[in-house]
């Protein structure tokens, strides 16, 4: 590799787990020899990743096979991975440890230099995608002349923009030139923005990313035979390769569309996705050398960016959390749950029943005060089961199993065999106390009692219980089937076993639990109350809705405060603010005008085909004033209040660590990953320093 000197890069990346490039000669059915390069990092549990040493070895292997191809010793070259992984892309840990843009530029160039050798071989080159091919891994395959895929592969993607990077080892250029710009934009920008959606082998075939798929049983054997035929002259169709019209006339349209979509998601847009679109746009001239130079610069910029570091922080939190919940008791303490009782048959309760039936596959009994309410709950559950079958999400057998496991009773005495009872009744302390008192009269002393309260104190609820230690909060978010977060609330009396059980149950339900103390609003609602309260405070001080929205837009939340309140419901929002105001009157704003607004519907109205607008009532209730705070004032106030409240939550030890707050906001409020969650953002924007004279993270989560 004489192009550049990579010594400094090698020295900066001493912890690389090296993916080796093993070269073996393979005799094809025709008798031709193909050099097969196996990428293998020799690790059982860690997928192949690419770092400087691995890239250099790959480049050297390709130089050797190129010489042999010139000498006519081999007729083709192919690359394959091991086990279920082709290659999972660049080693992100190494990238995020780089502290100099020079090094970032070097690894961008090295990636191009190494991978592009595959496309420059004088004989046909192939990628046999045996498993996961992500980011730089898929880019390896894109540099090859031809691609096969094992039909069971489910993880094919260019997820770079999801993580604040760009597909900068050739992907942003090669993909649109292989499958057309519209499809490429989908893979490079749209899918990553859609919660990092990945492609299956089937999808990759449909899109034209790979040429052919083969069954697992003889994937490599079939791939070799196919390669043999291609080397022998068999033609391979590339129906989606852009033609002259696409390059000269229609190229920009899908890019513009995607750019608009990105810009509409709050005003701290994901810069990597936008830069990736620039690269795709420039790729129309089919000039690889220029394109790769542009990619080098863009990738180097983004390796050093705030958004990449923030995304890595958030992504690492999510990944670690799926394996181990911080602050959780030993999971061995969890009790097994084989029968669930649900008190209530309203919408929330019915959603619980549906989830327990589907995910835990245990008998579920529901109860309510009247047969009518029970009937409507049961009807709802059956309707939803049918809907799931119609969608193909559930088989008829599974529906039958769920239906058989569902029962209803007016008489709570039938709850006796339940080992978990969760209530979803009216949010009123006396009602919930009464429910638990009656449940405790029939269930065993070991049964777990769970409340879905969002605003009441567990400790208050536990009063009068014979066994308050088994009362635990399991707070779901609406809609229950969709929202991934569950707050597991530990009351003063709650024992470790009950907390462990609640966590296990939440995980079995497919949710991500965090553990928090029994303090008003728990995590998400408390922070949202600050966000909403500050927005209302500004509006009451005469700021226009538009200014408030502009002020909070940099937080990147998917909904502005007014739209969020409309979604939650104005009455519920007012109730939330009231209860938190009662908890901390000096910090939490309660709005009487919100109660007034509740009489007249919500803030917004929207007519089909038009943008959301504010109603006259809401405009009248919140008149603008000349002395209103400016957008900048509002931004400072909101971020400072958020930082202050979060800091107090840490002092109150509401959660185990600041990471749990970020997880809760990522999962429960859809805080954008490219900002890394709440606290890294508050550190970066200076709000932490302003609020409490320090930062949540040391050093702060930001680019170098």
């Amino acid at each position: 590799m004489q192009d550049y000197d990579y010594t400094a890069l090698i020295e900066a990346t001493v912890n690389e787990v090296v993916t080796r490039s093993w070269v073996r000669d393979v005799t094809l059915p025709s008798g031709r020899i193909l050099a097969l390069i196996t990428l293998d990092n020799g690790q059982q549990r860690r997928p192949n990743t690419l770092g400087p040493r691995g890239l250099l070895e790959f480049a050297e292997a390709l130089d050797t096979v190129a010489r042999r191809a010139e000498a006519r010793e081999i007729s083709g070259v192919a690359v394959i991975g091991t086990d279920d992984v082709f290659a999972a892309g660049a080693d992100l840990g190494l990238l995020s440890s780089l502290t100099s843009r020079d090094r970032a530029l070097e690894i961008s160039r090295l990636g191009h230099a190494a991978l592009s050798r595959l496309g420059a071989l004088p004989v046909p080159s192939f990628a046999f995608i045996n498993g996961t091919a992500l980011g730089g891994g898929l880019e390896v395959a894109l540099h090859a002349h031809y691609r096969t895929v094992r039909d069971g592969v489910r993880q094919i993607a260019l997820p770079e923009t999801y993580l604040g990077l760009i597909p900068g080892w050739g992907g942003a250029f090669l993909l649109p030139n292989l499958i057309g710009v519209e499809r490429a934009v989908k893979v490079i920008v749209t899918n990553p923005a859609r919660n990092n959606t990945m492609l299956s082998a089937h999808d990759a075939c449909e899109l034209g990313i790979v040429d052919v798929s083969f069954p697992t049983v003889r994937f490599l054997e079939d791939s070799l035979a196919w390669a043999d035929a291609v080397i022998g002259g068999a033609s391979v169709a590339r129906p989606h390769r852009p033609g002259r019209v696409e390059r000269t006339i229609t190229w920009e349209a899908p890019i513009a569309l995607a750019r608009t979509a990105l810009m509409s998601k709050g005003s701290t847009p994901p810069t990597a996705a936008l830069r990736a679109l620039d690269l795709v746009s420039a790729a129309h001239d089919d000039n690889a050398d220029d394109a790769f130079r542009r990619e080098d610069d863009a990738l180097a910029d983004h390796i050093m960016s705030d958004q990449f570091r923030a995304s890595m922080y958030g992504f690492t939190l999510l990944t670690k959390h799926s394996k181990q919940v911080s602050g959780a008791p030993d999971r061995a303490l969890a009790r097994s749950i084989s029968r669930v009782g649900i008190v209530g048959a309203g919408l929330m309760a019915s959603q619980f029943a549906l989830l327990f039936l589907q995910k835990m596959q245990v008998p579920v009994m529901i109860t309510d005060v009247s047969a009518e309410r029970l009937e409507s709950g049961i009807a709802y559950i059956h309707e939803q089961l049918n809907r799931l079958v119609a969608k193909g999400a559930l088989t008829a057998d599974e529906r039958a199993r769920c239906a058989r496991n569902l029962s209803a009773t007016i008489d709570i005495a039938h709850f006796a065999p339940c080992d978990l009872v969760i209530e979803a009744v009216f949010e009123e302390l006396s009602v919930k106390r009464d429910v638990f008192r009656r449940v405790e009269g029939v269930v065993s002393s070991q049964a777990i009692l769970a409340t879905n309260t969002s605003s009441l104190s567990l400790d208050d609820m536990a009063e009068g219980l014979a066994h308050p230690e088994r009362l635990v909060g399991i707070h779901f978010f609406n809609p229950v089937a969709v929202m991934p977060l569950v707050e597991v609330v530990r009351g003063a009396a709650t024992d470790e076993s009950s907390v462990a059980t609640a966590i296990t149950v939440a995980q079995k339900l497919g949710k991500s639990p965090i553990v928090c103390r029994d303090v008003a609003g728990f995590v998400v609602n408390r922070i949202l109350a600050v966000y909403l309260g500050e927005a209302l405070k500004a509006a009451e001080a005469g700021a226009s809705f538009e200014d408030v929205i502009a002020a909070v837009a940099p937080l990147g939340l998917p909904m502005d405060p007014f739209a969020l309140m409309d979604l939650i419901g104005i009455t519920v929002s007012a109730h939330l603010l009231d209860s938190l105001h009662a908890f901390a009157p000096t910090r939490m704003h309660a709005s009487s005008r919100l109660h007034e607004l509740a009489q007249h519907g919500g803030f917004g109205k929207s007519e089909p085909g038009t943008a959301r607008q504010f109603t006259e009532h809401s405009r009248a209730l919140f008149p603008t004033r000349a002395d209103a705070p400016t957008v900048a004032d509002i931004y400072v106030a909101v971020t400072a209040s958020l930082a202050n409240e979060t800091h107090i939550m840490m002092e109150e030890k509401v959660v185990h660590g600041v990471e749990e707050i970020d997880l809760a906001m990522l999962l429960g409020a859809r805080w954008p990953l490219h900002l890394g969650g709440l606290t890294p953002y508050l550190d970066r924007c200076g709000a932490s320093e302003r609020a409490f004279g320090a930062t949540f993270h040391s050093p702060p989560i930001c680019g170098a």
Partner: protein, 395 residues
């Protein structure tokens, strides 16, 4: 009653058992599935849902050879779920028994088309591993300690037949290696091998040849080998089959299916027999089995133009030849070499014999009948008599 035809057979290349072998990182059921796909792909005129049953043999039916192989292999190979399957075991004669069982079902008229094969990953499943012999075998002297060790039973054959010397065994082994090498050079073996891609410690490899052939073998070299089964013994790694991983599978069909699916039979099953002998001399098993099978067929050994005898040990083949007065180097016997050269993945070897006999039949229109025969641990033998559909009268 229907005629029973062997239509086609394939196998994986045979590899050295153990960590240095090509298949160390490949599951036995995957090997078997790969062979099965290779077979059905090259017999595409048979619709997959026309397969009535799948019988797959393995000696050790646990781990990656567990869970009823005939069924798991069908699922892994992508056969329709409507195709049933079962597992079968007669140690070394497993695949042979799979063929005769399926052949019986076809002959009876229950089946039209069937797959029969066997696999043994001796690297993953060392012989006798995990087996727990009944203590009565020792207490009541039902079995000697030698009877459970195949090498020891081969040594006993040398004791019993002193004129079948180590030198004759070595010469026989050398000849097997030479014949196998010549068959490879002539391209007789390769057409029925299904290449296998296998993950190795330094990357994927494509296995396209049997791994343990030793064409460089010399008598001098053989003479220097140790005798691991007893001091001053006669059985060496050179005149015995090596421990091997491999899978084989055959396509069988009845007369109706042959015409319905437009198949070209390679062999017709004439008769078969299994017979027991003293477990101490299990290698003698082919003698009574062949006698029974020939009697059933109304034939004598003189009618048999080709003999595919499994070479578990050279001495054990020599006892069969000696019994019938056939010369050690008779051209009718294993013309393309045998298990001493190719290896002997226990329960899969029966179909390898058939693959080689079928390929020879196609070339030898002068031969009407052939046999495949093999010995079996604990004192058994099995023999199948086959007729050559290409037979065009005598020389």
């Amino acid at each position: 009653m229907s005629d029973v035809f062997y239509i086609d057979g394939v196998r994986t290349p045979f590899a050295r058992a153990g960590a240095k072998g090509a298949y160390w990182n490949t599951r036995a059921d995957d090997l078997m599935a790969k062979a099965t796909v290779g077979l059905v792909q090259r017999n595409a005129s048979v619709p997959l849902d026309a397969i009535d049953d799948v019988a797959i043999a393995a000696t050790t039916q646990q781990g990656d050879q567990g869970l009823t192989l005939g069924r798991t292999v069908g699922l892994l190979a992508g056969l329709p779920t409507s195709v049933p399957g079962y597992a079968i075991d007669r140690m070394c004669a497993g695949a042979m028994t799979a063929v005769t069982s399926m052949g019986s079902a076809i002959g009876y008229g229950a089946y039209d088309v069937a797959l029969a094969g066997g696999v043994e990953h001796m690297g993953h499943h060392p012989m006798d591993f995990g087996a727990h012999a009944n203590p009565r075998f020792a207490a009541e002297r039902l079995l000697s300690s030698d009877a459970l060790n195949m090498g020891c039973t081969a040594e006993i054959l040398h004791d019993r037949f002193p004129h079948l010397t180590k030198e004759r065994a070595d010469a026989y082994a050398l000849n097997s290696q030479r014949k196998a090498a010549a068959a490879y050079d002539a391209g007789h073996i390769q057409p029925d091998l299904v290449p296998v891609a296998a993950a190795g410690p330094e990357g994927w490899v494509s296995v396209t040849r049997d791994e343990q052939l030793r064409p460089q073998t010399t008598l001098e070299g053989l003479a220097t080998l140790k005798t691991p089964f007893r001091d001053n013994g006669s059985v060496t790694p050179g005149n015995a089959s090596p421990l091997t991983d491999g899978a084989t599978v055959a396509l069988l069909a009845g007369a109706d299916a042959v015409s319905r699916h437009n198949l070209s039979p390679a062999m017709r099953m004439v008769s078969f027999a299994y017979a027991g002998v003293d477990p101490d001399v299990m290698g003698l098993g082919p003698v009574p089995a062949t006698q029974k099978a020939l009697a059933k067929a109304g034939l004598t050994i003189d009618d048999i133009g080709l003999i595919e005898a499994n070479e578990a040990f050279a001495i054990q083949v020599l006892t069969l030849l000696d019994f019938y007065g056939i010369a050690d180097d008779d051209a009718r016997v294993n013309p393309w070499g045998g298990a001493i050269a190719y290896g002997h993945p226990l329960a899969s070897s029966g179909v390898r014999l058939m693959i080689q006999l079928a390929a020879q039949f196609a070339q030898r229109r002068d031969v009407r009948y052939g046999i495949t025969t093999m010995c079996v641990g604990l004192g058994q033998g099995g023999t199948v008599v086959w007729e050559n559909p290409h037979y065009a009268g005598g020389n």
